[in-house]
Assembly symmetry: D2
Homo-oligomer: 366 residues x 4
């Protein structure tokens, strides 16, 4: 793997590197870690990379790696830059034959494209999806999904926080702030677990912090394609909340609930019966969930990095199968792809327009 | 106190009697417990009431009690009938000089009128209100209030459940089902704690169960009079949920969260600080909260009946002060009144109309 | 009911009065609330008792009530005085034909004697007992029971706290402090739920606070009569803990856990299966549990007072049956009696002696 | 790093490899993965290791690696074999100049020896230690530490479970079963957090499962060197429990509690104040805790692998400093060493003998 971005001070780059390393199936072999060549070099050295594989720019990386023999050159590119500089390296990598793993989607090519919507990598999210898919809840009626954070409660942008700066800057983040940054994860989680698609929605976005240019809070009413209803609320001004992505799904006969901050617990409930606490390694979980558990004896908690590493591992295994001309194992072919990404972009666009509309319901753009 | 309704099989009547008894300040002295005189008599006997104080009808009760000497006759009437038969006894009682405690509001008279919106009787709800009122959270920005229940997940009406029958019958419940039955409690709780008023809302109501005549689920977007935004979701088809009324309030500097099913815990949170677990009897609670704690050593849980009894006690103390011509103590004058009830009725009407409107926002009717 | 003790400032008296009132089956008709006649009179007035039923002393109360006609005189005596003054009124009441409800036991007479070890009044404790009794856990192997409190972390005695004063005074509390005050409740709960008896134990008691005359902390190893092992830990210096009585029971095939501070939840667990969350009103609970639930729709929390009132109600119903010459209903005859109390006294004596013994195991005294 | 053991079916080997990989500071370069040379070769291939670095035996590995040039040869050996085959490879590695990371201790040499008592690698355990060390709790009075598991509830040994087989076999596990396997972790955690040492203890060990040769359950009373008292309970027959290692520490002014299954939460409590919920990334944590947090934005849960990787990372950093002749950074020099291991062995020996003693207290062997 080669990496674009993720140099000094960019926490997400470190997360990606750990996630890639965990399963021992992906090795970081080169990178262009900063738009400043000197910084890129210096940072690459801290990763113990050979000097000649730390590049001044992503263009140089793609061009030079392309000329290396197979087996030695990087097999794919991981792009971990801020939103506004995702597109050029992703496009160039794909055009030069390198599969891409990236936070944000592109138009399709024939190559493998993976999207690091990593909250779907948790074993108990996989289990939730299988519980719905296998009909254990009956027809889905109601979906409550939330993503409250509190870190933008005050005007952090302009105070030296790179994270806050680009996320609240329309030029770099696009038309939505909070909804683009985390609302998309909530949307993706809801559709992933239920297998349903949002068909129309009603939006109420707000920028609560004075002087903020993009929404830092939003509440949505949702209609799904099977008639289910829902609420999606995402916020970065929920003071005191950390990263409390959570979802509840109710069907005609049963329901489930899951919270990202305690990801190893999935509650399943039925009418007139005690709630059940599902946990990795306990009882009869689905094959899909079991294929994403890393730590064998139950009660050894897995966290965000393990979930994230599942994306990398699944991408790598599927890539390896594809390169060998084999059919990828469906248990591992389960990672977010360009379709999820395209849907995420459409979601952002829909929400921003719906927010401006005086009409209650606004069709999901496709 | 005299009681109208609440005979055999009407669980809410028993709840009221316990709540009234807990503080030893209210005594049940008479009642008309059923529209069937024989049933009323039989039921009154099980309560050890003297035969001549168990009446055949509320009309008889009001007329006969009125003729008894003060001190002996009932001091007020508690009405615990289903929604559609609230009005006549309440009106007649007030017209004949008896203060009324009731689940649903009436137009005003000069007499004391209490509303048993009992979830506001919990000590930690009182504390939440005082935390907001004293400015500990700063200006309120966001309110998330939910009331999910699961008991109407299937078509219970028509199967012998009196509770389900009247709640899903437009003739007896009015224009709203779930929103009228429990949505109003969520609305009341949100306005009580924040001291804010909803000014406009957007509604999406659904009757999920086939053949059901009234909504069993609803999601609302809310705008408050200070610019705060919110979501209110109430449902009776949230399979597996019991009575999970809960609220989160976020201000510019702090937030709180509370759940009715664990009512003795109130979480308070600030940016960049550990969350705090507030509990009755621990630390510096407000005078208002302390005046509503019944069990002295911390860690002895209080429940719904204690919260409910606070409504009765406060009503009784305020009534007693009023009868003596004294100014009621504001710590005890804190119970839901006709204004809350009128607002609850307006809420139901607003929600039902907003649901039918194609426009996103609908003004709160007043 | 007549009450001895429980006057101004004695919180436990108020708790008893509420608990007695909740079910509407017990009425407080007279009392001797203080050893100071004037204080007793004054306090009785605040309870709206007629002046001639508020007595100067328990002796006067017992003698005068005895002369009243049946139906008018008190039916039983509730004794809520500190430990060292339990004996004389209890003895005199029993000798004069009045059944007694009391915190501490007496030698037997033919009359009904109830012990307010109230933590066994919770519905989910009843359920736990039935789960064990019905064999759902298999043979019991291990019992972990704890009662940590923190209120005596500092030297509260001598600073004006009556509660702390008598509890830490050997003359008034007896040979044990913490173990007598709360350890006995833990012992009673463990034996009640499991149906087992402790046969020998190993004790390590400590008075951590300088100058304290009685133990404020103790840890015990337990052996039960079926071969089960256990640990009992009780403490009043567990700083920050409120009243965290809790128990876990493990059998050959299943286990349960319960915490007094969240009394409406009982966890049941089996090997290789998801844990279950048992709650009042949900699923198939035992008849015994159901007979002790007061609030009908699930999710309306019940608390300490409701549990306590179950003791009063059961005592009253059993007394009424007994007076009528009927066989008491076993569902209601389930309240702590003189046997539990005698066992509690033996427990205290055993623990104190075992603590002084250099031998590991000390036989439970009987 | 070279690895001894950890081949096919040995889950702990995989855990070690992930833990080593997470921080990108340790690379697996060779191994002897099985006592069966063919199995070792086959397994090494699945890890993408070059064939000539997968050895037939640990002897071969140590001898051949020793002859490789520095920089190319392994820098240290990680030993992940079952207990009874720890000693020979560890001894031989140390004698040949290779530092060792291992589950169980050895007699000292001049070389670095790390012990993978990995539960002390969690950030919030580090925070707990610093809270105690900095005096925030005052003098420690009471320590409650538990390690309940349920996986040996039935007779798993002899049914094909390698894990169960060696753990219940005195020849391979030593004189203690449960107490050796997990009791030592509880002991280590208690001493690590409090900085205290157990001076004497009282033990009650049991083999509950018929035919089991070693204890599967044990309860201990503890005395610490500052006068603190405690309880340690470890069990593998706590049916339904997963890996519920947990600890509570109470001092003269404050207390803390932590549970391994929700490792990102640390509760801190003081007399008469709300409990606080400490979390990674929130508020003012100690430098030590912050140096062990891997995922930057709060609310992204870290798990067991991250804690484990902290041991590897700290070992690697300290080794690197040592090799360079620099003073290791104390923030990273914080990992379990031979002293902890020696203490663990003494603990096992003490517990086994104490269990057989009729005397209550038994001195901790040193």
């Amino acid at each position: 793997m080669g990496m674009v971005g993720g140099g000094h001070g960019a926490f997400i780059g470190g997360i990606h590197r750990i996630a890639a390393a965990i399963d021992g199936e992906v090795e970081l072999v080169c990178g262009a870690f900063s738009s400043d060549p000197a910084k890129s070099k210096a940072f690459g050295a801290t990763l113990y990379l050979p000097e000649n594989r730390v590049y001044d720019s992503f263009e140089e990386m793609i061009m030079k790696e392309k000329q290396l023999p197979e087996g030695e050159r990087m097999d794919f590119v991981s792009i971990v830059t801020p939103n506004h500089v995702h597109f050029p390296p992703a496009k160039m990598a794909l055009e030069n034959g390198f599969p891409v793993l990236c936070d944000k989607p592109l138009a399709k090519t024939g190559l493998l494209f993976g999207l690091t919507h990593n909250y779907t990598g948790y074993p108990m999210v996989k289990e939730a999806r299988e519980i719905v898919r296998s009909g254990q809840l009956g027809k889905i009626r109601k979906v409550m999904v939330e993503y409250p954070q509190g870190w933008l409660t005050t005007k952090l942008e302009g105070t030296g926080s790179k994270q806050a700066d680009w996320r609240t800057d329309p030029k770099r983040s696009g038309a939505a702030g909070c909804m683009g940054d985390i609302g998309t994860h909530a949307e993706n989680l809801a559709e992933y677990i239920t297998g349903l698609q949002i068909t129309e929605l009603c939006a109420d976005l707000t920028a609560f912090v004075e002087g903020r240019l993009l929404d830092d809070d939003g509440n949505l009413l949702l209609h799904f394609d099977n008639g289910a209803k829902g609420v999606l609320s995402a916020s970065q001004i929920c003071v005191g909340d950390e990263n409390n992505l959570n979802i509840r799904v109710y069907g005609e006969i049963g329901g489930i609930e899951w919270r990202q901050e305690e990801p190893n617990t999935l509650i399943r409930k039925y009418l007139g019966r005690p709630k059940e606490i599902l946990r990795p390694g306990v009882g009869n979980l689905s094959e899909l969930a079991k294929a994403h558990i890393k730590v064998a004896p139950p009660g050894h908690p897995e966290g965000f990095l393990e979930a994230f590493s599942n994306i990398y591992r699944n991408f790598a295994r599927t890539l390896r199968s594809t390169l060998k001309g084999e059919t990828p194992n469906p248990l591992y072919a389960d990672f977010p792809t360009v379709e999820d990404g395209v849907r995420g972009m459409a979601f952002i666009e829909t929400v921003v327009e719906a927010n401006q509309s005086p009409q209650k319901w606004y069709k999901f753009k496709t």
